[in-house]
């Protein structure tokens, strides 16, 4: 790893990272601020929800309406949209660009002519991606935790909150690995940001579609969102070893392939 490159990359990504932190934290806090009002009108809202078709509720990420009555349940349902989807968009945008921007930005000729190996460059940039995603998750989870503490009527299980945060982090990391992998496949230098964002949204769409009808339930297994457990109020809720293996194993495989491709990649500007 090269510290000079690391600090330059952290600097150049700091602004967008902070912007994403602020936006996601604000959305989480804002949504949680609605919770007390929701509780006050719980019976009315629940009555209205009973009229909504189950599929539509599932589409919104609500598997059990009763979950909404708990602060953590309410947080988990909304967390999927903000922290998981938006966090994954941030992760894939960051990782798609971190290597590729040197090519389409025509700076590769400066970076790759320094006394660095491709390994140095790859792992330094990977470290930047991981750190940025970690910091984003840390700050947004803190915003979520503080919001929960403020709006809670009764204590919520912190361990479940932590497990949900770990799932979010692992999901974001998987999308980062996917972005890195895709960027090493690109032959001619051009940004693939739009493609990356579209991929996250398609996976999320597949996941939600799979929850609406039984017929489409198998499609969900194609999406990484399917492997995130959000049933925080379930007594058996925890970090399943299969889930952990799925996220870390797939991420590791994608990163390893990306690394091997990048080592032998022809760099054009």
């Amino acid at each position: 790893m090269n510290l000079n490159l690391f600090s330059k990359e952290m600097r150049s990504n700091a602004f967008s990272m902070i912007l994403w932190m602020v936006i996601i934290s604000f959305l989480v806090a804002f949504t949680m601020s609605v919770f007390p009002t929701f509780l006050e009108n719980q019976s009315k809202v629940m009555g209205m929800m009973s009229l909504v078709p189950k599929g539509a509720l599932q589409f919104k990420g609500i598997s059990d309406v009763a979950d909404l009555a708990s602060a953590l349940g309410f947080y988990a349902i909304n967390n999927v949209i903000y922290m998981m989807v938006l966090g994954s968009v941030f992760s894939i945008v960051l990782s798609c660009n971190i290597l590729l921007k040197e090519e389409y930005g025509k700076t590769a000729e400066y970076l790759l002519t320094r006394p660095l190996t491709r390994n140095n460059i790859f792992f330094t940039k990977l470290a930047v991606v991981i750190l940025c995603i970690f910091l984003l998750n840390l700050v947004t989870a803190l915003a979520g935790f503080i919001s929960l503490k403020i709006v809670q009527k009764e204590a919520f299980p912190v361990s479940a909150f932590l497990v949900l945060s770990v799932y979010t982090f692992l999901l974001n990391l998987l999308f980062a690995a996917l972005g890195l992998f895709m960027s090493t496949l690109v032959k001619r230098p051009r940004p693939i940001t739009t493609f990356g964002i579209a991929l996250v949204l398609v996976f999320y769409f597949l996941f939600t579609i799979s929850k609406i009808t039984e017929n489409a339930s198998q499609i969900g297994y194609l999406s990484p969102f399917k492997y995130v457990r959000t049933d925080v109020l379930n007594k058996s809720y925890g970090l399943g070893s299969w889930h952990l293996l799925y996220f870390s194993g797939l991420s590791l495989v994608l990163i390893t392939i990306a690394y091997r491709l990048y080592r032998r990649k022809d760099i054009y500007t």
């Binding site: 090269n2 000079n4 490159l5 330059k8 150049s12 930005g105 025509k106 700076t107 590769a108 000729e109 400066y110 790759l112 002519t113 320094r114 006394p115 660095l116 190996t117 140095n120 032998r264 022809d266 760099i267 054009y268 500007t269």
Partner: protein, 320 residues
């Protein structure tokens, strides 16, 4: 004077660095390319290129656009990988020992795009920090003053010429033993071009070798001792610049007032005569210019142009 531990390491690392270069340069050419071939899919990049550049040499590498100059340079810098063949810099393999090599090599890319959001000074210091030396502010000041470059401006605000200056300075900051330049004068005004050439000569006198790639024959002739001409991915000629100079051609274009004068005109050394209209004659001339003028003088002419032929025309002349 207090010598700190850091100073000691710096002096020691410079000693080791110089010793390593001396050792490598004594026993190997600075650049040694052997049967180097690169194809982009089915498209030819370069084919079987063999080339040696000696220590302390300013070596010219000329050819028209698309001839394979940049491909050769990219292979030397390990930006791309060869299909076959090998290349060594200072005796070190350009793929396996690329990191070591790049401690001693500077590179001026043809496209002068740096990190546009950075300030010039920040970018140049960032470049310096990649090397094993202590930050050399003296060197930075010396080079920026040479090129009259403001370090506090943002790169994005700079003109093309000033960006080129940034590109040149970054390549020289670590006092490389070999400088590879790819079309370095694009965007530089004539005064800056001559400043740059002067700097190259001065660094060359201190021991820096230069691999100078260009499609402009005149600037290669001005600087280099030897030159390789690349065409369609192959080295078609590798010769001393003096030999090339002796072969120097001029492209002559005469517009006679009287078509009869044109019909009677002849001169030894004129080749590829192309009659255009009744009174216009174009040809390639290698010989004494005063002889040419004296042959033209008896007739009446309305226009005379004597210019340097393009590389393409030289290729046509010599290698057809």
């Amino acid at each position: 004077m207090i010598i700190t531990k850091l100073d000691f390491y710096w002096v020691y690392s410079k000693y080791i660095h110089n010793k390593a270069i001396k050792f490598n340069c004594m026993s190997h050419p600075v650049i040694d390319i052997s049967h180097l071939t690169k194809y982009y899919g089915k498209t030819r990049g370069i084919e079987n290129v063999d080339l040696q550049v000696h220590e302390g040499e300013i070596f010219g590498f000329i050819g028209p656009n698309g001839a394979g100059k940049s491909t050769t340079i990219r292979l030397l810098l390990n930006l791309i990988f060869p299909g076959s063949g090998s290349a060594r810099i200072m005796g070190m393999d350009v793929i396996r020992e690329t990191k070591k090599i790049k401690n001693f090599v500077g590179y001026v890319p043809s496209d002068a795009n740096a990190y546009s959001s950075m300030k010039v000074g920040y970018f140049l210091r960032y470049c310096m920090r990649f090397y094993d030396f202590k930050q050399d502010e003296e060197r930075l000041t010396e080079l920026s003053e040479w090129f009259e470059l403001d370090l506090d401006r943002k790169i994005t605000e700079l003109s093309m010429g000033n960006r080129k200056k940034v590109s040149i300075i970054q390549s020289l900051l670590h006092r490389p033993k070999l400088l590879i330049v790819d079309e370095p004068t694009t965007g530089l005004d004539p005064l800056m071009q001559s400043q740059f050439f002067e700097l190259l000569r001065s660094e060359n006198r201190k021991g820096m070798s230069v691999f100078f790639s260009s499609h402009i024959l005149s600037e290669v002739q001005l600087l280099c001792k030897r030159v390789a001409i690349i065409k369609d991915g192959k080295i078609v000629q590798l010769e001393d610049i003096e030999t090339l100079r002796k072969k120097q051609l001029k492209k002559v274009h005469i517009e006679f007032s009287n078509p009869e004068d044109k019909a009677n005109f002849s001169i030894p050394g004129a080749e590829n005569m192309i009659p255009r209209m009744d009174n216009i004659l174009s040809f390639m001339y290698s010989g004494d210019i005063s002889e040419l003028i004296s042959r033209i003088a008896p007739g009446k002419i309305t226009d005379l142009t004597i210019e340097e032929p393009s590389l393409e025309e030289i290729f046509m002349h010599y290698y057809q």
